[in-house]
């Protein structure tokens, strides 16, 4: 079998795994953090508009990418989706149920179905627990497997699934490398038999060869267990590789959303275009041939975002109305959404 055959097969498998059924829908999500002043009486003097009206859907079995530069609201969006943050307004519909309306008792079930994997696996692993307990405890607490022998068996199975040897069960987090700890984080998430996993910069801290191993692991697991991912990352190359559809955020707003290849081959929003131009590609001849048009300025404060289109102060295509009118997030072609009046 030639490598191209394998590639075609992988590609078909990769693209064929998601359905049209919507698993999660986020509607007009807003998360404003109050900024307070004063020592005894905290007076709210301003708000950080971390997420300012974001809407999207995730279909069962797909990987939706959420990309944008730091501070644009990716993590906050993810945290609101599992109710780690109480949204200011908006709906989080999980198979039709609005999670923002549930009390903590009603949320328990969803806390199993929805898991999150963080960038820094170390800070999320208890240093005094063995890896076996880190993976096994939540199964006990959530009553997923009550029998200790069976639970132990499941831990070993999960370690193997995540490419870790059985003797890791007896080790502690500090005895492991960054890549191994991230595998533990993934095993712990899988222990809950989740349907939906939010990966927040899950591979961003890893070196390229280790990063590629973990990316492959996440893809294998998605296929094997029919998982759905929200894949949050600032790394546009990783996002292109792993996602079916991609949403681009800027300063708390969603500026573009499209199928992965469509977004990269035919970006419409000036910010998406600027982002893609900024990423250097590991190909020296191609880099020589590329025009390096570089977007000016820096990202403004989310405490006092620009009026109108939030990107207008840095935008090459901006016209007078851009500083006044908030552009509507509209579908310009089937499945391709963009928030810019000049498209």
């Amino acid at each position: 079998m030639s490598t191209t055959d394998a590639a075609v097969r992988d590609d078909a498998q990769f693209r064929g795994t998601h359905s049209d059924e919507v698993l999660v829908e986020v509607k007009d999500l807003k998360m404003f953090f109050p900024v307070t002043e004063g020592v005894f009486i905290h007076r709210v003097v301003a708000h950080v508009k971390a997420v300012n009206g974001v809407s999207f859907q995730i279909k069962k079995g797909e990987t939706l990418g959420l990309v944008g530069e730091s501070g644009c609201g990716k993590t906050t969006t993810g945290r609101c989706m599992i109710q780690l943050e109480q949204a200011t307004s908006g709906e989080i519909l999980y198979q039709g149920t609005d999670l923002t309306k549930l009390d903590s008792q009603e949320m328990i079930d969803y806390r199993k179905k929805i898991q999150i994997i963080f960038q820094d696996p170390f800070s999320s692993l208890n240093p005094r627990m063995t890896i076996g307990d880190i993976i096994g405890e939540p199964m006990k607490v959530h009553g997923i497997i009550d029998d200790p022998t069976e639970r132990r068996q499941r831990v070993l199975e999960l370690l193997a699934k995540c490419g870790l040897k059985a003797n890791f069960a007896e080790r502690y987090p500090h005895e492991m490398s960054g890549g191994q700890r991230q595998r533990v984080g993934i095993a712990r998430a899988l222990a809950m038999n989740p349907e939906f996993i939010i990966c927040d910069e899950a591979v961003s801290a890893l070196d390229v060869s280790i990063q590629a191993q973990v990316i492959n692991l996440l893809e294998d697991l998605r296929e094997e267990f029919g998982l759905t991912y929200l894949f949050i990352s600032h790394d546009l190359s990783v996002i292109r590789h792993i996602c079916h559809r991609v949403a681009v955020m800027y300063l708390g707003n969603m500026v573009e959303l499209a199928d992965c290849d469509e977004l990269y081959d035919n970006p419409l929003h000036p910010y998406t275009q600027a982002l893609l131009e900024a990423v250097p590609i590991p190909d020296p001849d191609l880099e020589k041939a590329r025009a390096h048009k570089i977007v000016k300025g820096e990202i403004p404060s989310p405490m006092n975002p620009p009026t109108g289109c939030v990107f207008h102060p840095r935008c090459e295509k901006a016209v007078a109305s851009c500083s006044q009118n908030v552009p509507e997030f509209r579908e310009v072609k089937p499945g391709h959404w963009v928030a810019c009046t000049e498209v």
């Binding site: 590639a7 390229v208 191993q213 880099e287």
Partner: protein
């Protein structure tokens, strides 16, 4: 072009309770006047320790340069007194680190820090130093430079601070800049601004630069020549074209197969090497990559392969360097 820097068989070890960490163990490379050379490799492979060795900033204990020579502009830096070395650092060799606050003092104004560097290394009056500081800030793209002089680092964004560091690094007309992960902490649009600025300025002023990075895209865009490091050694070196289009070391090959490409539609799963880099205190006589290498033979366990010429511009340290294509198919 004449050779500006020549590192030969540099060895920097750390003597720790857990054993001797051979962080840099026989590194040799050169930098010509005015060229940009990249050092690329995954974390812990010895990139920063090599840079700190050039600057003679290895903390003892536990670290020590135990062998080799570093010839810069005709003199061996390893033979200089600390006093002589201080004059070279910041004057002939400028430094830019990942975290701008490594180079900036939080309690001093931007202006004071720039003028102090200038006055320490050159015969210049305070007034002239001030004018030069304004000029430098303008050169690195900082608006209203006069106003910035009286500001403190915390008034500036991360990208702006890195611009100030670049201004400081260039202030005394250095011959060489060492930039260790200069944009790793920055967002991608700011990274592009800073890298483009560094490229323009070094080309315009004819300053040579060593760019240390783990980002293969950055290397492809900015480097004339590339050194790939693994486990304390350079395992391959060549022009950017050599390294990306005709790699001769299995590790370089594996690295290139591990990076997802943003410019191409997904075709297949990534094809990374298994395992992880070795513990630098446990290295044996063989090739340090062999546990992860799909080309390894019995010989690889016995002797470390020297960095040998494969073409006029390219060198690789691998016993199987001439058989890779044949074996890969």
């Amino acid at each position: 072009m004449a050779t500006l820097l020549e590192i030969e068989n540099l060895q920097t070890h750390f003597f720790t309770s857990a054993g001797v960490v051979k962080a840099v163990d026989g590194v040799s490379y050169t930098v010509d006047e005015g060229e940009t050379v990249a050092v690329v490799g995954e974390s812990g492979c010895g990139k920063s320790v090599t840079a700190m060795s050039i600057l003679r900033l290895i903390p003892w204990p536990p670290g020590k340069i135990v062998g080799g020579s570093i010839k810069f502009d005709g003199q061996d830096l390893l033979q200089l007194t600390e006093e002589e070395m201080r004059n070279i650092r910041g004057r002939d060799i400028g430094m830019i680190f990942q975290e701008p606050m490594t180079s900036l003092n939080p309690v001093l104004t931007i202006g004071l820090q720039l003028t102090e560097t200038l006055m320490a290394h050159t015969d210049i009056t305070a007034k002239k130093a001030n004018e030069r500081a304004v000029e430098l800030l303008g050169m690195v793209g900082i608006s209203e430079p006069e106003r910035r002089l009286v500001q403190y680092p915390h008034h500036l964004s991360g990208g702006m601070r890195q611009r100030v560091v670049i201004a400081m690094a260039l202030s005394c007309d250095p011959k060489l800049i060492i930039a260790d992960e200069p944009t790793t902490a920055l967002d991608v649009t700011i990274q592009a601004q800073i890298l483009e600025l560094m490229k323009d300025l070094t080309k315009r002023l004819g300053v040579a630069m060593i760019v240390i990075t783990h980002n293969l895209g950055v290397v492809a865009r900015y480097a004339d020549r590339v050194n790939v490091m693994y486990a304390g050694r350079i395992i391959e070196s060549g022009s950017a074209q050599d390294i990306y289009y005709n790699p001769k070391h299995p590790y370089t090959l594996a690295l290139l197969k591990s990076v997802p490409r943003m410019d191409q539609a997904r075709q297949a799963k990534l094809d990374p090497v298994d395992g992880q880099p070795p513990d630098l205190s446990q290295l044996d006589a063989g090739c340090s990559f062999r546990a992860r290498c799909r080309f390894a033979t019995a010989k690889c366990a016995q002797e470390y392969p020297a960095l040998e010429k494969v073409s006029d511009t390219q060198y690789a340290a691998c016993w199987e360097k001439d058989n890779l294509e044949e074996k890969a198919s």
